[in-house]
């Protein structure tokens, strides 16, 4: 399972792929930021096309483990999150730090590009909006409502 409503735990994900013959562990943690496109963010809600999202995460991990001599852990949070909470964690453990870094970076890019997850942000001014990373930067998020 790569998607979970419970808080993500970096240490346990690192432990899940560490091994005595994998001395290099690269990780990426995405935290909920307090601002987006110039607006103050209070928190957000992640939702997903659950079955497809799980399937894409599993496929991404498998593809990374085929491309690099590395073991990958991947977890993405769903539901309500507040500022500072971890939204996504990628861990890549390898005998070689180049492979660990490259695999970790590739996985987070693949997650952003391929996994059907959506984010609804709540702003300081009381409004909410669905985040659209494909929208031109500087424009208002789509679907703004009070």
């Amino acid at each position: 399972m790569h998607l979970q409503h419970d808080p993500l735990d970096l240490a346990s994900l690192v432990a899940s792929v560490s091994a005595p013959d994998r001395g290099a562990v690269a990780t990426f943690v995405g935290l909920v930021r307090d601002h987006h496109a110039g607006r103050g963010v209070l928190g957000l809600e992640y939702s997903a096309y659950g079955a497809m999202a799980e399937g894409r995460c599993t496929a991404i991990v498998a593809e990374a483990e085929e491309k690099w001599p590395a073991r990958i852990a991947l977890a993405h949070r769903l539901g309500g999150l507040t500022v500072g909470e971890a939204a996504v964690i990628v861990v890549a453990a390898s005998a070689h730090r180049e492979a660990a870094f490259d695999a970790c970076r590739w996985v987070i890019e693949a997650v952003k590009a391929q996994v059907p997850i959506w984010k609804r942000e709540r702003y300081l001014d009381g409004t909410e909006a669905w985040v659209d990373p494909t929208a031109p930067t500087g424009t208002m998020p789509t679907g703004v409502m009070p």
Partner: protein
């Protein structure tokens, strides 16, 4: 035939539910599905090429829709 399409996030709000039904001819493609969705109330504000998943995989406009495949219309992804 009548096909059910899964909706998520902003598109679920757009169409007012988590699924929507459309009538499609035999041999319909992803492009036909998009056209049918665009004709529904709320569908006019879909982008030119929305992301359609067929059997939980990204589909191209020319792809045919298998009879029993799960269909879904996906807003721009925002995970990670």
């Amino acid at each position: 035939m009548r096909r059910s399409v899964l909706l998520f996030a902003r598109y679920a709000e757009l169409f007012g539910g988590e699924t929507v039904s459309v009538d499609l001819p035999d041999g319909a493609t992803v492009a036909d599905l998009i056209a049918a969705l665009r004709a529904l109330p709320g569908g006019a504000s879909l982008p030119p090429q929305p992301f359609v998943a067929v059997a939980q995989a990204q589909a191209a406009p020319g792809d045919r829709l298998p009879l029993d495949a799960e269909l879904a219309l996906l807003p721009p992804l925002a995970g990670g």
